[in-house]
């Protein structure tokens, strides 16, 4: 049995002896395919450290595994004698839902909820297929290889889109007029972008000259089309190559067990972030999320280059992505486990960030269809168009998307509004599937923020977490601890987070965004993450098989609560399916926040696609996605 492609045992033991916290993530994986033989814990002979029992990997509906002492020592002692695990998916092949006690849900209600969510999503998809946005057109240019910025820091993709918008040539998509001009002027696309950004050039000073240059001419249209297609193919091939590179890393190195430990870095300076991220990886972090500077979601451009100044986080830029990716690859190779990198495909540049993430091999992206609308007051038409393109790119890149329902209840009451989280995850799932995202890419985010002093708060948290787990088998759900009820009392906060860690492992969540005791005080210090990772390791290890040992009492508080929340979610979905998602948002059905169809930021960047709209990337992505799904099926 091969420990899931992990580095050698010696390497792991060395890590453990070096870091006395016995980073659970350094504990070797147990294979998922063989029932009952994969029980983990033994001591690591070289170091004498005992290894925490960690999450067992069993197929869904598996019988509980035997206790560790019943496992023949040979089953885990020699990792080298075992054949390679044949299947490495984009996500760790963990039996989803393992660990969570079974929950009996009314299958008919669940089925109806999904049908309604699909109907709601199909209307959104139809809308977004009929429209485009400046961000989407900039994404097309990025995929065609346009990079760089002006001396003033304006990205060239912004310059080009703004120029064509100004002469009224954006409605049918940027690609054909832009490449027609490249052909007419005999310039490469990058050269043409440079010329447009040159204040002294005729094209940038004379709108008539620009207008003439971008006209589609019968004699060159085919050449322009072929050229655009060729450049777009090159960009998309890079994303596909990064997808393959990730697969290879996972095959060679393996990764941490679920629940993956997800921590944030947010120093504002990418070079300092790298230091913090490397330290976190050594302590057992599986996913590093680089929090963005607080202003970025409302910037209508992606900054260029490495950045050292940010507030509450660090700007997402292609150069910053590349820097962090290289650092995590390096430390991951040393630790013998692939460290995932996460950022935020959200805000006004949602599809561009997804594109850059694909190019630079990010592994996860916060990418919610509704979050920006609700919490950043971004116009709903803008975000609903942008989310589709960003998710198609994420599907292509093999990225896991994380949705943001875990934030709804920071503004709405956690118990009263629990059903809105459930309804939203179902809608996000349907929207994601409409963009070809696979189950193992759906890191639906959730968690309630119940007042910690409410009697039986833990039962309700378990109920909600178990309900989401049961609704989305196979999806690497992302569970997030509370932020609203953190007080500045770090010890109390640590206990609250510990309770959430327990719920995480008990209900078999895929990704745990580890709570920091210093939440609401400052962005995490280097040792704040150590506290959080140590707590998670203790609890994930110590309670690894708890979920498979317990049952929810039939008719008990948890089961009743799940039933009630699901029924209310069903009602909400019925309501939304009647009026449509946009209307529901304007009535404040989510997070107690009302947003109007024409309000918020970014509406001026939305336009109806013209009759001759053409985007070369769309058809290539369609083809690639088909190819990938055939490969994965075969």
């Amino acid at each position: 049995m091969k420990p899931n492609g992990r580095g050698s045992r010696n390497q792991s033991c060395e890590l453990i002896s070096r870091a006395t916290e016995t980073a659970f993530a350094a504990v070797e994986h147990q294979p998922s395919t063989e029932l009952g033989t994969g029980a983990p814990t033994q001591s690591c002979a070289e170091s004498g450290e005992s290894r925490p029992l960690h999450l067992l990997r069993l197929p869904q509906n598996a019988v509980p595994s035997p206790p560790p002492e019943a496992v023949p020592a040979a089953a885990t002692a020699d990792s080298h004698a075992m054949p390679d695990s044949p299947v490495i998916s984009t996500f760790a092949p963990t039996a989803a839902g393992f660990g969570c006690p079974a929950l009996s849900l009314d299958a008919a209600v669940v089925h109806n909820c999904r049908q309604l969510a699909a109907k709601i999503a199909s209307e959104v998809t139809a809308f977004s297929e009929a429209h485009s946005t400046v961000a989407i057109e900039r994404t097309v240019l990025r995929l065609c290889g346009i990079t760089g910025a002006t001396a003033a820091g304006v990205p060239l993709v912004n310059v080009v889109v703004a120029a064509l918008e100004q002469v009224g040539e954006l409605g049918n998509g940027i690609a054909l007029p832009f490449f027609s001009a490249a052909v007419a002027l005999d310039l490469t696309p990058q050269q043409l972008a440079d010329v447009l950004a040159d204040d002294a050039s005729a094209l940038s000073t004379d709108p008539l000259a620009l207008h003439a240059a971008v006209q589609i001419r019968a004699d060159t249209a085919d050449r322009a089309r072929a050229l655009a297609h060729q450049y777009a193919q090159t960009g998309i091939d890079q994303i596909v190559a990064q997808r393959a590179a990730r697969k290879q890393f996972l095959r060679d190195l393996g990764e941490g067990n679920q629940p993956l430990c997800y921590v944030i870095v947010a120093t504002g300076n990418i070079f300092e972030d790298v230091v913090q991220a490397r330290v976190a990886a050594r302590q057992g972090a599986d996913v590093i999320a680089v929090i963005r500077s607080t202003g970025q979601s409302l910037l209508d451009y992606v900054p260029e280059g490495t950045t050292t100044e940010g507030y509450g986080g660090t700007y997402a830029t292609q150069a910053n992505f590349a820097l962090m990716r290289a650092a995590l690859d390096e430390v991951g190779a040393e630790l013998g486990r692939y460290i995932r990198l996460c950022n935020y495909a959200s805000g006004l540049c949602m599809p561009e960030i997804a594109c850059l993430g694909g190019l630079e091999r990010l592994d996860m992206m916060l990418n919610d269809a509704l979050y920006g609308i609700l919490f950043r007051d971004i116009n709903m038409q803008r975000t609903l168009c942008d989310q589709r393109v960003s998710r198609r790119l994420s599907a292509l890149a093999g990225l896991i998307i994380n949705t943001g329902e875990d934030n709804y209840l920071t503004t709405a009451d956690a118990v009263d509004a629990a059903h809105t989280v459930v309804a939203s995850t179902l809608i996000n799932e349907a929207l994601g599937r409409a963009c070809s995202l696979q189950t193992e890419q759906l890191g639906l985010g959730h968690a309630m923020e119940i007042d910690p002093l409410r009697p039986n708060m833990l039962l309700y948290e378990i109920a909600h977490a178990a309900l989401i787990r049961a609704l989305f088998p196979g999806a690497p759900l992302k569970y997030m601890p509370p932020t609203k009820h953190m007080t500045g009392n770090v010890l109390r906060g640590h206990v609250q987070d510990a309770l959430f860690n327990l719920v995480t492992v008990l209900t078999g969540q895929g990704i745990c965004l580890l709570g920091m005791p210093t939440e609401a005080m400052h962005t995490p210090h280097v040792h704040d993450r150590y506290w959080a990772l140590e707590s998670a390791q203790l609890i994930f290890g110590g309670a690894a098989a708890l979920g498979s040992e317990l049952q929810f009492r039939p008719g008990g508080v948890i089961e009743q609560r799940c039933k009630q929340v699901l029924e209310k979610a069903y009602e909400l979905l019925q309501n939304l399916a009647t009026t449509g998602l946009m209307d529901g948002l304007s009535r404040g059905l989510f997070a107690d926040i009302k947003r109007s169809r024409d309000g918020g930021r970014g509406l001026d960047g939305v336009f109806a696609r013209g009759p001759a709209y053409w985007d070369p990337t769309g058809e290539i992505i369609d083809k690639q996605l088909q190819l990938i799904s055939q490969q994965e099926a075969g």
Binding site: T20, R282, Q283, G295, L298, T411, G488, V526, Y530
Partner: protein, 261 residues
């Protein structure tokens, strides 16, 4: 003076108060920090020496942990010989009566009639965290205390996130605001202080300062900090809307009375 709880034990000298662990004047404090040095005996000695340089006595490194990448984390206990004179502490307070919703409405109506107190709120600068300002302004309020929008005596406009100081001041002019409420959550590199101070400067440059009540709020803000920055009041974590409402109503009434005399 003998604070409650020490009737039989040795009395506290409030002019010389020290940190307390389990014995009066033991000076016990806990420190927790990391150093960018590799884990080992030298790291622990470095932590001890650093604690001594902080003026602490008998530092004990109870816990040291290798964070990797040349970092070590420490938990240190030590004794602090320093003391403060508690009889000579002054903390500025908002210092007005705490009124409930009905009393605030009644006070305003009795004095100002049907005119409304015009309140403009925003998260300024890069700050996108609107939870605080929403809790104070939205009808729903916070902890069962209804927000300012639920009061008859207020006309409220909430500009939301990431409003520039310039936009806020121009909105204040257009809205004829009586009061500005500014929320600041992000405090990295003290950006909240510079941003708030810049707003005060701008209202002065625009000759609006004397007509406006300037209030700020946020988890890292206090009345003391607000006064330092040139605001009229500051509200920290745990503030409920009626505290802000009570301050606004009482202050505007007092100012009007002062202007008449």
């Amino acid at each position: 003076m003998n604070p409650h709880g020490r009737q039989a034990a040795a009395p506290v000298d409030l002019s010389r108060v020290r940190a307390y662990g389990d014995t009066l004047d033991d000076g016990q404090v806990m420190l927790s920090f990391s150093l960018p040095v590799p884990y080992g005996d030298e790291a622990k000695e470095a932590a001890r020496q650093l604690a001594r340089q902080m003026g602490l006595l008998q530092p004990q490194v109870y816990h040291a942990h290798d964070l990797g990448e040349g970092f070590t984390y420490f938990t240190v206990y030590a004794r602090s010989p320093h003391s403060v004179d508690f009889t000579n502490i002054f903390v500025p307070k908002v210092g007005l009566a705490k009124l409930d919703h009905a009393a605030i409405e009644a006070l305003w109506q009795a004095t100002m009639g049907t005119r409304k107190l015009r309140v403009l709120g925003a998260c300024t600068g890069d700050d996108a965290h609107t939870v605080g300002i929403d809790a104070i302004l939205n009808v729903k309020g916070w902890r069962g205390d209804k927000g300012l929008e639920s009061y008859h005596c207020f006309e409220v406009r909430n500009l939301g996130a990431q409003v520039t100081n310039e936009a806020l001041v121009s909105a204040a002019r257009e809205f004829a605001a009586d009061a500005l409420l500014v929320s600041q959550v992000v405090t990295q590199k003290d950006c909240h202080r510079s941003n708030l101070a810049a707003l005060v400067d701008l209202t002065e440059a625009e000759d609006l300062r004397q007509d406006l009540l300037l209030l700020c709020g946020g988890p890292r803000l206090s009345h003391t900090v607000a006064l330092e920055l040139g605001f009229d009041a500051g509200f920290g974590a745990g503030t409920v809307p009626s505290e802000v409402a009570g301050f606004l109503v009482q202050t505007v009434i007092a100012r009007q009375a002062a202007a008449r005399t």
